[in-house]
């Protein structure tokens, strides 16, 4: 038998550097780490709140410190990226139909952004005094 199929090896660690779309994907995946980290921060904040005013104020001071600020800026950027990339693919996972026509993807995505804005507005309102 003269057949000898050749298998091209793919680097298990660095495959994602081969294409731009893969890099974008990896950043999206990485963003989950920051989302997770921020969730942890929120849990800690609840914990500190339950431990009384002093504990909570100490926690808030830490948040405003240089590390806290740096973390929040980075986490916020990743959260934005995470949110926009996932919003943009929602129509693929949830196609909606009205009769024979598909609800345009833009409408579904737009609805998500609108919902996000609405919730943000409510939160900001509650948070401000």
């Amino acid at each position: 038998m003269s057949r000898r199929p050749y298998v091209r090896e793919v680097s298990r660690s660095w495959w994602w550097l081969n294409q731009r779309r893969y890099v974008g994907y990896m950043i999206r995946e990485l963003s989950c780490v920051f989302i997770g980290a921020y969730t942890a921060v929120i849990v800690v904040s609840l914990m500190r709140l339950s431990q009384g005013q002093a504990a909570y104020e100490g926690f808030l001071d830490a948040l405003w410190g240089p590390v806290g600020l740096a973390f929040h800026i980075v986490a916020f950027v990743f959260a934005l990226y995470h949110t926009t990339t996932w919003f943009n693919v929602t129509p693929k996972a949830m196609p909606l139909r009205l009769g024979e026509r598909r609800v345009p993807g833009g409408a579904i995505i737009g609805a998500h952004y609108a919902g996000w804005l609405a919730v943000s507005a409510v939160v900001l309102f509650l948070a401000g005094d």
Binding site: M1, S2, R3, R4
Partner: protein, 584 residues
């Protein structure tokens, strides 16, 4: 040589081959089917068919109508008993494939939709958007995966039939991956390898349409019938030859010349309005439309383009919504390959070779004169298409005759006859192996495959085009004979074993040359004009002498010998083909 045993061996896994395989499996699940194809089944050229498949379904339609349209469309060269059976079984086969999942386009009430098609009095063409062949092929292939008795041999190139004592005992095929030849022993063999459009330079046909199965049967002693009838599809894209479906005209598209004039009205297909109107103008039969182009070209009324003269297929009046719904692929093809959006601009088109009406001589049961050898689909000629095929009859033909071939082969497989002479079988297999081996051993080649192929293409285009005459045909016969002689001077430039496409192209060229010779010799001998065979020196149809099928028999040296067989006439007496008129 390694043997592979089966009960039924099928060469070709397109629509007809797959339908036949399923038919064998359904008839008797214990019969082993070897489904042999030089490409993966999804690549078969059935996939490129667009428009639809005809079958009577409307209340205002009748089998009689389908019969009449087909026989008239074929210029009375169709065997009417076969056509009667065909129109009878058509609706059932189309419904069967619907049960298997074919995504036919639908009416609002959920029933299958039908569209008007060329040469048909009442609309009866079932369609799946404008990718009917694609959907039918994929439905058949995916359905075939249900049956464990169907064993596939993908990318095996079949070279020769093994015929002993008048019975077909198998076929030899090259496993393209390893380069090794295998002997497929079978009790019955079905050939479903498609047509031979690649014999011509401009064709809708894909690379694989090289008439290999036709040539195999031909060399084994089965005549090739009606080979002179080559269909030019009126609307192919210039340059690439890509097919723009007749369905575009069925939905209301028009053809205009350089003056924006719907020229078909000058050729007995008018009046132009009302439009759309069945069997009139752009919904006339394909042979008439392609011939009209030829005349317009001679009158200097066609439009120049970088890839030869064209006319315009105008779909603008359909509107974007209808085009997107019914002809999305047409739009995409036009945009990609000629940079034209049919919503806003007309598409440049010209006639291109599309279909081979002729082929392996088979009867109404898809059987050839060699025991145990069947053929179905474009490679076969029953004949239901006669001198000119109506659009959308071919896809249905794959199902009707694919199924008949399968059932016939299954029945044969239960009755082998006498024990075959093993040494004779092995001898033929060895000869086939040697034939290929000789190509490898040959040195000092004087001819190159692509150049010889181009010469063949040019010869066929000049001599056996839309219009022919005695002189050009005689010249072509001589030229083709010379090309066949020179073929012996081909040397392989690739002598490897693993997936050697130089070898495959060499073998395909051999098949094409044999088929091409059958075409031109048959054409020279038919001294009349009928359907798609038009002679400038013999413009009238001659029922007295030529209401017969041409049978070309292979000869190892010299031109094929030509015989004739009467056409089977039952109900429809040859008359005039009438299109156009004011009827709705």
């Amino acid at each position: 040589m390694e043997s592979i045993r089966s009960d039924v061996a099928i060469v070709g896994a397109g629509g007809a081959g797959l339908r036949a395989a399923i038919a064998v499996a359904e008839t008797d699940p214990d019969l082993r089917v070897a489904l042999i194809s030089k490409v993966y089944p999804m690549r078969s050229h059935t996939v490129a068919a667009e428009g639809g498949a005809a079958g009577v379904v409307k209340d205002n339609d009748s089998l009689e109508n389908h019969f009449d349209d087909t026989v008239a469309g074929g210029d009375w060269l169709c065997d009417q008993d076969a056509v009667e059976l065909f129109v009878n079984e058509a609706p059932r086969e189309l419904t069967q494939i619907e049960h298997w999942g074919c995504p036919w386009s639908r009416e609002p009430n959920g029933r299958v939709a039908v569209r008007p098609f060329g040469g048909m009095k009442v609309e009866r063409t079932w369609y799946a958007a404008d990718k009917t062949g694609f959907h039918m092929l994929h439905t058949l292939f995916q359905t075939s995966l249900k049956y464990p008795s169907i064993q596939r041999y993908d990318e095996f190139y079949s070279t020769d039939l093994v015929v002993v004592d008048g019975r077909c005992r198998g076929v030899t095929a090259i496993d393209m991956r390893s380069g090794q030849m295998r002997l497929f022993r079978a009790k019955a063999v079905i050939i479903a390898t498609g047509g031979a459009g690649r014999v011509f330079p401009f064709t809708t046909n894909g690379a694989i349409k090289t008439g290999d199965g036709m040539a195999m049967a031909y060399r084994a002693g089965v005549p090739l019938k009606d080979m002179e009838f080559i269909q030019y599809h009126p609307t192919g894209l210039p340059g690439t030859g890509i097919l723009i479906t007749e369905g575009a005209r069925g939905e209301g598209g028009i053809l205009v010349n350089r003056d924006g004039y719907r020229y078909l009205q000058d050729y007995g297909l008018g009046p132009p309005d009302p439009w759309p109107r069945k069997k009139a103008m752009e919904l006339g039969p394909r042979d008439r439309l392609s011939q009209a182009f030829w005349h317009e070209h001679n009158k200097g009324r066609t439009i120049e383009s970088p890839h030869g003269d064209v006319v315009h297929l105008d779909l603008r009046q359909l509107g974007e919504k209808k085009i997107e719904e019914r002809l999305p692929m047409v739009r995409e093809l036009a945009q990609s390959y000629v940079g034209v959006d049919p919503v806003h601009e007309p598409i440049p088109v010209r006639p291109v070779v599309h279909y081979t009406m002729g082929g392996i001589d088979t009867d109404i049961d898809a059987a050839s004169r060699i025991g145990g050898l069947f053929a179905a689909g474009e490679c076969a000629c029953v004949s239901i298409n006669g001198a000119n095929r109506l659009g959308s009859n071919s896809l249905t033909e794959l199902l009707v005759f694919g199924a008949r071939a399968g059932r016939g082969a299954a029945a044969q497989a239960g009755d082998e006859g006498h024990e075959p002479d093993q040494s004779a079988i092995e001898e033929q297999a060895a000869a086939a192996q040697d034939g290929v081996g000789e190509l490898f051993r040959r040195t000092g080649g004087t001819e190159r495959i692509p150049h010889l192929r181009k010469e063949m293409n040019d010869t066929m285009e000049l001599g056996a085009g839309i219009y022919r005459n005695e002189e050009s045909l005689k010249e072509s016969c001589a030229k083709m004979a010379d090309i066949q002689r020179r073929y012996a001077g081909i040397e392989l430039e690739d002598k490897s074993n693993v997936y050697n496409t130089d070898l495959i192209q060499a073998l395909e060229l051999g098949s094409m040359i044999e088929v091409a010779r059958a075409i031109v010799v048959s054409a020279l001998n038919r001294a009349e004009s009928r359907g798609s065979h038009q002679r400038l020196d013999r413009v009238e149809r001659d029922d007295q002498n030529y209401l017969k099928h041409t049978l070309a028999r292979y000869s190892t040296d010299g031109d094929p010998s030509i015989e004739y067989r009467d056409v089977v006439i039952t109900k429809s007496v040859p008359g005039e083909r009438v299109y156009g008129g004011g009827e709705k």
